[in-house]
Subunit: 308 residues, 2 copies
């Protein structure tokens, strides 16, 4: 079973308008509302892959009810802790050229609900793969680091993938419970504290920086594929040129692909191809957190993985 945590779930609203004019009134042509947040995207993709996935998280108020209903509409197994306040709304205003975003912070998670979460998690005893993805909400009397660490220690798990902001990740990497991270180039540079000039430098950092000792690192490079450190071996993934429609959620889809590969005991090369294919397939689709199985099968043949 793959357990996915989405601590700060949201209703993602996309407004399609002709042109955003500051100071004006707009009536959108189309309005799309989805359950959102990075963890939810990961779980959605695993659900489409027919994997045995359980989504956990905090939800609040009527927005939380809407999130839960939307997940049940796609029969995604979920267990949420209901907290005070209202789950956040994340707004994207699309005018064809630009995406302007307004992101709410979400409700404060009181200690009583943090305890309830841990209690529920401990009752599950074990899972094979666990994913923590997306920002941590505002917590009463706890830092994001403490919260994530407690979660990781509340259930027996063979493999933990953590995909949170670089500032949190840096400290989290000190813990043995973090097995895999998936930064992009910007996040990687933020993590190591300086900007890499070229691929060779990134390879060198992956090999020697103590931050990544005994960690799997899936460093995505956009159109240039990825650099992967897995079981202390280094790989380079080359991807084909594809028609990108909407890259939002591609990182989350890649995380889903990694989790799927680990859960299904794929060898390193196959796991890397599969994860890359999930990310690209998401980018080839309009909707965020959606992949196509036939696209993935086609892509796997076109992705090349070399050991370096």
């Amino acid at each position: 079973m793959i357990l996915v945590h989405s601590f700060n779930s949201s209703i993602d609203i996309t407004y399609q308008i002709d042109h955003l004019n500051i100071g004006q009134v707009h009536r959108p042509n189309t309005v799309i509302k989805n359950a959102g947040g990075k963890g939810i995207n990961v779980a959605k993709v695993l659900n489409q892959l027919k994997e045995n996935v359980l989504l956990m998280g905090y939800i609040a108020g009527n927005n939380g009810k809407t999130i839960k209903t939307k997940l049940e509409d796609i029969t995604l197994s979920n267990e949420f802790i209901e907290t005070d306040g209202e789950s956040r709304i994340c707004i994207a205003i699309n005018d064809g050229l630009h995406q302007t975003e307004i992101l709410e912070s979400g409700p404060l998670i009181k200690k009583v609900y943090q305890k309830e979460y841990i209690h529920k998690l401990k009752r599950k005893q074990h899972c094979n793969v666990q994913v923590i993805s997306g920002s941590t909400p505002i917590l009463e009397d706890a830092t994001p680091l403490e919260h994530t660490h407690t979660i990781l220690n509340s259930i027996e798990s063979n493999y933990n993938i953590v995909d949170v902001r670089a500032s949190e990740l840096q400290q989290l990497l000190q813990y043995d419970e973090v097995h895999c991270i998936k930064p992009n180039e910007t996040e990687f540079d933020e993590l190591i504290g300086f900007t890499c000039e070229h691929l060779e430098q990134r390879i060198d950092v992956l090999k020697h920086n103590p931050l990544f000792q005994n960690k799997d690192v899936f460093l995505t490079l956009g159109a240039n594929g990825a650099l992967i450190k897995r079981n202390n071996h280094l790989y380079r993934a080359h991807i084909p040129n594809m028609q990108i429609v909407n890259p939002v959620g591609s990182g989350d889809s890649t995380v889903a692909g990694i989790a799927y590969g680990i859960e299904n005991l794929f060898d390193d090369e196959m796991m890397i191809k599969f994860a890359m294919a999930c990310g690209i397939s998401n980018a080839m689709n309009e909707q965020t957190g959606y992949i196509s199985l036939s696209q993935i099968n086609e892509l796997i043949d076109k992705i090349k993985v070399e050991k370096i």
Copy 2:
């Protein structure tokens, strides 16, 4: 009893941000969420005036539940018909200089719910003053005109104030059931089909245009006060210079003041002063649809009404 209809209620969200940059991600400094829509503002003000007011309307989904909860938090009596879909969200992005708005259209109101509304309304038998305020939602098999006309004929009422968009109002004015309208200058010009050059021209139109025959017209002129036709007498209201904080909802507060004045048998001059004071008090407050009783009392002394 004053009955207020709000057919297309919304959750009004105001995001306060430092600067709106197209194509960028914004995390708002403050987020304010209110039950909104012109009818709800009218009812809110009447509720603050401790008037016996009942709010009716359509609400839908979890957003509808949020609207209802917010009204119950301020103990505003309400009876809604719950329909399919989701009540709309109206977003205002404020960066100190500009207000950029995104207004959803709201759900389609199926015939079955329109009938349920009429049925509920007919059971009430009578009210003294009735207000229809704000845009009509998308209706199955009915025009806004037919819908409003049916509502006006479903309950015995002594005085009906209708404050909807000018395009609907023009046709509605043919009905005897419409007793009072409250256009601003722009809406007035739209209603009569040409732009008035000066006050005298507006007075002339109010006196002689058959559109306004036997109708009370409360024509607001912003800082220039108002022109009022009441019982076929004409009045001019002069208002003092005040510190305007947020004029949104001032028209709705004026409507509430008119309804209050009619319900409480104020003479024409007092009704006009009271309605103007409600509008100004709203504009002097940050929040939409909020007035201060002490401000109103002070303002009434400063507003001058002359018969013309």
